[in-house]
């Protein structure tokens, strides 16, 4: 089956007086594995349900394969959805659950039997056809939910937090399987999650949502390296953010902020205006004890160690710089002791690791 595109044009939705989605325009390429990422209440699940047809009183258009489906009820959309709760019917067996959509489409019995067997094999549940959902593990239930949806060979696959009910280890394994399955079937897939790691590891592109608005759309690396605003910078990975003003005089660029005071920035940088924020990731900071010689083209901050968390691969220090705390991730080498609280340190950030956020 040729994969199809999904397009949203100026979609908005309100529940009563509450505006849940605002002017959403988005296009998902055929065969793409696309994530809607955001905190709870950001509207991502509502948007997914809207694509499935469960919220139909929206304004704007939903196009699937170029056709406006806004007026089509859920049962005629041919959009498969895997629910967060899986929504497996407890009164039906695994096979009956999987066959349901095909029976509704009135396919010949032989065809139904063949396709149910095929999808159950695809998700490696062959042999469990006669079980009821209550007799399956969480991971198996999730695979039944996926099989039941794939059985109807939907044009688009929608996944609503499909991994959230699995334990941590199974979640990592399942997301890899999900990615492989998606590539193999080459089906346009939209995946809702609040977990940035999940979105980044599985999806081709991500739309970050907050308060019913799409904040940024891009590949995982684009979002991480070039966040367009404070929200995206903070939500995708950890970040140090400081608001202040920029002044350029005599070939030097200075940044002055109430939090960290006056800092010299590498002169090569181009701030977006007189006011704005600078952002840099904890792992991009080089931490040195004492006061080493300055390096050309780096931003330099001095402070003292205030706290630490040992996370195995790295140590996460909290460093007091003027009136603010800066988070620094320092790669851990075997046997290296951590720096005690109160140690004076110098933080260096390379020019290319510093991002400006306008406003």
């Amino acid at each position: 089956m040729t994969p199809v595109a999904v397009e949203l044009r100026n979609v908005a939705l309100a529940f009563g007086a509450t505006q849940v989605l605002r002017d959403i325009t988005l296009s998902v390429a055929p065969g793409e594995f696309f994530a809607l990422l955001g905190p709870s209440g950001s509207g991502k699940s509502t948007l997914l349900r809207l694509i499935a047809g469960f919220n139909r009183n929206q304004s704007g258009q939903v196009l699937i394969a170029g056709r406006d489906v806004s007026a089509i009820p859920p049962w005629r959309r041919d959009v498969g959805m895997v629910f967060q709760s899986y929504a497996l019917w407890p009164h039906m067996t695994v096979a009956q659950n999987a066959a349901f959509g095909l029976e509704e489409r009135k396919l010949p019995r032989e065809e139904i039997r063949r396709r149910v067997a095929a999808v159950l094999e695809l998700v490696e549940l062959t042999g469990l056809e006669a079980r009821r959902p209550g007799q399956l593990s969480g991971g198996q239930q999730q695979r039944v939910a996926i099989a039941r949806t794939l059985a109807i060979e939907p044009q688009v696959l929608l996944l609503d937090e499909p991994l959230s009910n699995l334990d941590a280890k199974l979640r990592v394994q399942t997301r890899q399987e999900l990615k492989k399955l998606q590539k193999r079937l080459n089906i346009t897939t939209i995946f809702v999650t609040h977990d940035q790691e999940e979105a980044m590891t599985t999806c081709d592109r991500i739309a970050v949502m907050d308060q019913g608005v799409i904040q940024q759309v891009g590949t995982p690396m684009e979002l991480f390296d070039h966040p367009v605003n404070r929200f995206v910078a903070q939500f995708v990975g950890s970040v140090n953010l400081f608001r202040g003003s920029f002044t350029r005089a005599a070939g030097t660029l200075r940044f002055s902020s109430p939090a960290i005071g006056e800092v010299a920035l590498p002169a090569a940088l181009e701030p977006p205006g007189a006011q704005g924020e600078i952002a840099f990731r904890p792992h991009a900071i080089r931490l040195t004890a004492g006061d080493p010689a300055a390096v050309e083209g780096e931003m330099r901050l001095t402070g003292t160690i205030e706290g630490e968390e040992f996370l195995g691969e790295f140590l996460r220090y909290e460093v007091q710089v003027a009136g603010a705390r800066v988070v620094v991730d320092h790669a851990h080498a075997r046997g290296e002791p951590s720096l005690p609280t109160g140690t004076p340190v110098t933080l260096s950030v390379a020019a290319e690791e510093i991002r400006f956020i306008a406003g």
């Binding site: 469960f54 049962w75 929504a87 009821r132």
Partner: protein, 560 residues
């Protein structure tokens, strides 16, 4: 959990002895009588004799037919209402609440006479139909009348159980069905209804039992070719020695147990154990204009039907003459005067019997709840199970069992037990004990054990702990249990008809029944009925208030 002390054992044994004497022995006596010959040996002769009487075979078939048809019609009324109120944005809670309570505050047999006047052969509806279209509907003819009256009375059991069941279904279950291509009636049939089946079965089996066992409604409608009326007629006309009445009792008990057990088994067997995990519940759907017209039309029609016995009985109680007219033509308060002149004794008796029975119920209920939930007494669950058996015992069976078991028992001060006020109290108490016990158990399980431990830690003995901490904290549940017992006992008729040995002992429900036997008595009967409904209605309202004001989150140390 408390240690088992001699005091606890004595209390448990006393309760067990009470249940044995007033529940187990009477029922066993009935069964024994049905299967024993003159010498006391086992025999199937009575059963054979029953099967050989064509009236008995007919009665058996009729009882099954009436119960089954009532379940069918009750479902037709209740299923759309339940779905509507649970799934659509709608003033549903109010409707369900009103529809659920209205029929229950008036015993079915009370409204039956009024229904004759509204829907009978020359009742209001048929007079109108005949005038306008030249035909009549035999709604109240024979078995139809029983089915009609019982349907209106009992459909709330299906409605309330099904609505609760529907409300518990994760909406994503339904949405998954829609997502895979199902909608409308198919979706309801294949997904929604099967998932709500436990609630439906619970409600439907309850309706079946209640109708199958009912004595008052068929008697008031003068339908005698059903099992319960036959048992009553045999025992009262032929006498306590006639074995056929006992055979009928055994059949009633077996069907009750089978229906209850069957519904329990069904719910157990189905694997509904899957728990929902954080499914987003969708907002209720909005009705389209057409759907709204249909929905409100349906609800209004049902409301009108449900209210008709109430309106009918009120009109009847106020009418001077009501015969061959759509509505009464002259109104009077004379019937109420008659009732207050002749029947104050009956009203007093109702308060006495029902009050004492309800008191007995909550005392026993509290004690059993404490024994089961708070002690490690071996076999304590048995008390709970014994009480639950009372649920399946038709009033008729218990009544006959009492008459048979306790004949000749003469008590000091009270006299012959079966001809005393005490027999009413006992009979009422035993059959309402399951409800009072549930109420007490629920209340006690809301009280955290640490509250009791704190009292004991501060030096209170167990008895003081129970009286000063446990009982006050359970008071909401105890009061609700008291009112439920009182109200249902006040409307009881099966046991009452059997146990009323002389008029001076009769409670209101018997008075209504007696008045309704004659045309002239219908007015005063209706007046007494109105008084009973007001009484029961106030009681029900009061118990709802108690339960509402004592909601669990007000109780400190609520179990998590």
């Amino acid at each position: 959990m408390t240690r088992v002390t001699p005091g606890i054992v004595v209390i448990a044994l006393a309760i067990a002895a009470f249940l044995l004497a007033f529940l187990v022995v009477p029922v066993v006596t009935v069964v024994y009588t049905a299967f024993s010959n003159a010498e006391g040996g086992f025999t199937l002769a009575h059963l054979r004799a029953f099967a050989e009487i064509s009236l008995m075979r007919e009665s058996f078939a009729n009882s099954l037919y009436v119960a089954a048809m009532t379940v069918l019609f009750a479902s037709l009324l209740a299923v759309p209402l339940a779905y509507l109120t649970v799934r659509f944005r709608f003033r549903g809670a109010v409707v369900i609440h009103t529809l659920g309570v209205l029929p229950l505050i008036m015993p079915a047999f009370v409204g039956a006479a009024a229904m004759q006047l509204l829907f009978g052969r020359s009742g209001s509806l048929n007079l109108i139909l005949n005038d306008a279209f030249g035909f009549t509907v035999p709604l109240m003819e024979g078995l139809n009348g029983v089915i009609f009256v019982e349907t209106l009375h009992y459909f709330p059991f299906v409605l309330l159980n099904l609505a609760a069941s529907l409300a518990n279904i994760d909406t994503s279950m339904e949405e998954a069905g829609q997502n895979l291509g199902s909608s409308g009636v198919r979706l309801f049939r294949k997904i929604v209804f099967p998932l709500a089946l436990p609630g439906y079965i619970a409600g439907a089996s309850l309706v079946f039992i209640k109708v199958f066992d009912d004595l008052g409604t068929p008697l008031v409608l003068n339908v005698t070719n059903m099992l319960a009326p036959q048992a009553y007629l045999r025992v009262t006309s032929i006498g306590l020695e006639d074995p056929i009445g006992y055979v009928i009792c055994v059949i009633l008990v077996l069907f009750s147990i089978a229906a209850m057990g069957g519904s329990w088994w069904f719910v157990q067997r189905r694997d509904f154990a899957i728990q929902t995990r954080g499914g987003v519940s969708a907002p209720r759907r909005r009705l389209t204009p057409w759907q709204a017209v249909l929905a409100y039309g349906w609800i209004s029609a049902v409301m009108l039907l449900v209210l008709s016995p109430h309106l009918g009985i009120l009109l009847l109680s106020l009418s001077k003459v009501w015969s061959f007219t759509v509505f009464p033509e002259q109104f009077t308060l004379a019937h109420f005067a008659t009732v207050f002149e002749d029947s104050t004794r009956m009203i007093w008796n109702t308060f006495l019997y029902c009050g004492l029975a309800a008191l007995l119920d909550v005392v026993l209920g509290t004690a059993i709840a404490y024994l089961v939930l708070r002690t490690q007494l071996p076999g304590r669950q048995l008390l709970d199970h014994m009480v639950t058996v009372a649920l399946a015992m038709p009033g008729l069976v218990l009544g006959i069992g009492y008459l048979r078991t306790f004949r000749g028992v003469d008590l000091p001060l009270i006299g012959p037990l079966t001809a005393s006020w005490l027999i009413f109290v006992l009979a009422y108490a035993v059959r309402r004990l399951p409800f009072a016990l549930r109420s007490c158990m629920a209340a006690l399980s809301q009280v955290h054990v640490s509250l009791e431990e704190a009292a004991e830690n501060l030096g209170a003995s167990r008895w003081h702990t129970v009286m000063r901490v446990v009982v006050p904290l359970m008071m909401g549940g105890i009061l609700a249990g008291f009112v439920t017992s009182f109200v249902t006992a006040a409307g009881e008729i099966s046991e009452t008809i059997l146990l009323t040995s002389r008029e001076s002992l009769a409670p209101m429900s018997y008075g209504i029944y007696l008045y309704m036997q004659s045309i002239a008595g219908r007015g005063p009967g209706a007046a007494l009925g109105v008084i009973a409904v007001v009484l029961i209605g106030l009681g029900t309202w009061f118990s709802h208030r108690i339960v509402a004001s004592r909601s669990p989150h007000d109780v400190p140390g609520e179990k998590t």
